[in-house]
Amino acid sequence: MELILVVIIGLLYASGIYMMLRRSMVKLIIGLILLGNGANMLIFLLGRIVKGKPPIIDSTAKMLTEIYADPVPQALILTAIVISFGLQSFAIILVKRAYKITQTDDLDELNTTDEIYE
């Protein structure tokens, strides 16, 4: 399964970037989301994956003894997911605002702030 996950991760990164390069604000956001998911999956996979053994201590036990999934990456991803949610919500709204102001989805038209003279 790792191999397939690796492919998926690569695909997530690739598609995220491809979408970011598409000039469209909406696609940009989607690209960022894809990229974020890619990073999360990467953390997950690189923490090494274990099937069906969540890091939850049995009601009768006092510690995890057998094989169990590494809880650290999970905690990291949880944090990362939530943070990305915050950032993504903001980005989505930003795009909405930007469209309202500029009336275009075309990022190429948002270049006045880079001009030398203004």
Partner: protein, 768 residues
Amino acid sequence: MILAILSGFILAGCTPFISKFIKGKGSLLLPLLPFGLFVYFISYLKEIGEGQTFKFSYEWVPSYGINFGFHLDGLAMLFALLITGVGTLVFTYTTSYLKGHQYLDRFFGYLSMFMASMLGLVLSDNIITLFIFWELTSISSFFLIGFNNDDPKSRKSALLALSITGLGGLFLLAGMVLLGFVGGTYQFQELLSQSNLIQDHASYGWIVGLIFIGAFTKSAQFPFHFWLPGAMKAPTPVSTYLHSATMVKAGIYLLARFTPLLGGTPEWNTTLIIVGAITMVYAAVHSIFRIDMKGILAYSTISALGILVFLIGLGTEASLLAAGVFILVHALYKATLFLITGIVDHETGTRDVTVLSGLSKVLMPVAVAAGLAALSNAGAPPFFGFIGKDLIYEATLAYGNWAVVLTIAAIVTNVCLLFAGLLAGFKPFVGPLPSNYAALHLPHPTMWVPPLILAGLGLVFGLFPSLIEGVLVQPVFSSMVIEGAPVHIKLWHGFNLVLGLSLLTLTLGVVLYMILKPSSLLFSKTLKFEMIAPQTLFGIFGKFFNAFARFWTGLFQNGYLRNYVITILGFLTILLAYRLYQGVNLYIDTAQLTSLTIYEVTVAIMMIVAIIFTVFSRSRLVAVASLGVMGYSICLIFLFYSAPDLAMTQFSIDTLTVILFVLVIYNLPKYKNFSSKAVRLRDAVLSIFFGSLIAILTLEVLAEPLNRETSIFYAESAYLLAKGKNVVNVILVDFRGFDTMVEITVLVIAAIGVFSLLKLRLKSIEKE
């Protein structure tokens, strides 16, 4: 000693607060400061004459070997006296020249700042401190040149001067630091003892080169000379003080000072001779075609500076002596001429020598001063200038194989300079007085007395060279030539070749004056040569540089986000690929991989297809829905691989994201395809390449063993120490609770951001 230097800065710092006082009667008190300092330095004159030197050291940055170490020897003394002496006169002169000027206070502020910096420069023993003062003179000069800041030309000149001297200064800094690095200290006196080591060092060439650039820019040597004529936009006292008597000589000072340390090598001498010679001839020739008194004086100053560089470059005892004397000679007559120019300008409103004439009839004392200065400049006996010129010819004549060439160059220069001197100091005062000048009155004595004093000194020192021979010239010489023979300067050497040359010069100059009448026509003709002048080349370079800046900035900061992203990712991809290729053996550890099951394959297929669908879908909503599918697939993957908390969170957040999108997309435009096929192909290639790199990297990392110490600790102590059984949750609220704290803060900020983005509408009438 430090007080002597600081006093100027303190005065400068005070000016904004005592501006009323300065603008009133107080201005007359200001010259007391340079005068006091002058007297202070004079008090050391005797000991200096006896060969003593004085050291003053004040800690500043001991950890980096930088201090206010001051060293008062002959050379420093000469400059200190020039600075304070000419300073006194210039300060005095200014009180009248700029009387009632709105910003007199500022002017004095800058002037005293300059004086202090200049003093610091010549007295510093620490080469970094020296550099600091050096830069301060540049910046004071900037403010002074731009003093008439309403005038765009004035601003432009100030900027030009600062550019050239500032750039030179930076090279000088590099040179100083390199010198300090090679010599292991920043103390000049300590460096002096390591002269041989430094001269043999591989970086010697760099040191010399860098210091040269600094000196040449400051002292307006060809091809950096062109800022100086522009600097004449400054009020006359400034031209007098900075741009003829003192600041421009800082470069000379530097070269003289470093001669015993770095001099005596072909690199040093040859460069200086060539640059000096070119400058002196080039500027001298230029000066004779000018019609603006200040312009004439500016070019003749450049030429004189060239002579000095040239003399230092010759490096013989004779030439160094000549240099030492000529510094003083030039300061005296050139300052006079400038001050006079100021008076003329002040009174008549013009500096055009083609218009001016006969002024001696109304401005007699001024004319006297001018005449004296012109004669000293001409090198006519018995003026101090005569001695100076003698020494120069002596030096060139003694210079081995090249003596003839060098002497001819010196003669040409001197002839032109003589002509220039006459033009500025003689021509305006003789001949008929135009009627519109008939009513002119002699200005306040504070204006005409200073030039008279300076010019007078030129005569006095000429007549009685012994006055300064022992106390000043000898120590100056000793500073440059450590083990030189005792020097003697005198007016009369008897009839010899040198005298002949002097006379020849005099004659040729006068003849030239007879033949060549200044005219604006001629002047404008000479302007044509500026096509190939350095300033034009610099201008072209500047334009080119600007165009390059435009090109470069446009290349990167082109306004297109996609280009930015592609640059960043391209950069990352190339580096990653290179590093992977360079240091990683591709290797997959299949043994550690888990097997596949049908549900995993299903989820994987669904996910992959969903991703592709998201990317290629033509409808935003379908893309969002596919994104949802993808999210849910991830959720399942989390679940399969033992992360129920993750699965829950992913699912909830995914749903919320979909809601957000759906709510927002409703007033977003429909997808459009903005890019061409080729662009899409390029982007696809880059993306896939990058994705593959990440995938490869992941595989490689998977093959490495993982240190499980942390996770084992959590597994063992989650319940026993932290009283929780869901280890992930325990990590979130306890072991790594800080992360969570921050993370909810992120959420809060995002919410506030959304709130303000959507709700806050600044009304255009509301004031900010």
